[in-house]
């Protein structure tokens, strides 16, 4: 199943028209399912532990930076820095952040 999902993602993303059409279809149907007439944009990035998007002031472009409420830095890989990657015309970065309540993961996108 996982192999199939990976293959599907790569093959669909290879064809930008198909990718955009399917993303738009998903957006419209997701919007309708929650009673919104507009398109609901799906997230392009995924942070570790299912984290969401960082606070706007913790992102400088796709980079992770310190902000008013939290200090963030790139969440790098185990062997070499690989916190950021590009896909479908955008760049995502994994950020590890710390605020008054503890630490969490989030992502920046540009």
């Amino acid at each position: 199943m996982k192999t199939g999902l990976g293959w599907l993602g790569i093959q669909v993303n290879r064809r930008s028209f198909l990718e955009r059409s399917l993303a738009a279809t998903f957006g419209v149907l997701a919007g309708l399912s929650i009673g919104k007439a507009g398109v609901v944009m799906a997230d392009k990035c995924t942070a570790p532990n299912g984290g969401g998007q960082c606070y706007p002031d913790n992102c400088w472009g796709y980079g992770c930076v310190n902000g008013q409420y939290a200090n963030c830095s790139f969440y790098t890989g185990t062997w070499w820095p690989n916190a950021c990657w590009s896909c479908s015309g955008g760049t995502c970065c994994d950020c590890a952040c710390q605020n008054h309540y503890g630490s969490y993961y989030c992502w920046c996108f540009a």
Partner: protein
Amino acid sequence: MSGPILLSYVALWLVVSVETIAILALYHHFAQMYLTSREGRATQGPVIGSRLRPIEGETLTGTLLQLPAAGVAGLLVFVSTKCPLCDRLRPDMARFDAANAGITMIVICQGRRQDVHRWAGNLADTIDVVIDPKQLIGGQCGVGLLPFCIGVDSSGVVRAKGIINDSEGLEAIAGEALESRTVRRAAPVLQEVGQ
């Protein structure tokens, strides 16, 4: 076929078509989520220990290149003309290639020929840059996220792979893929120009 039956027949096919597209869109969404998750990123590229499937590509100079090259270990770096991280990696690749003459580096760049030409610039003078306009080579290698590097040993077996952000990633993959004694750390630019 009477009117109401024909109408219901058409309506049914319409519903089936819409549902098919909706299911595909849903799978695409989950595939996208999986692809960008840490687990999905780790499974990108060919399996470590497997033999790299033969790849054929045309370089910017018009040469037809067969990969992996027989008896030569090397790094395959996947980039794109539309990827800002790949732009930042360009000087690192040039430095690494200059500092490690014993390692073949081949850059596989997604994009149109003229864009790849513009993107590569001087890099194409020293490193083979293969054009991958339809992301066929990337798709064949299972690479969907960039910049991505695959380290192949002299027998064509994949020894290391992963998303890279800078020269440290190139060195780590080269170090894992090849005999560590052949890999030297890329010298800083200032030392290279003798300042």
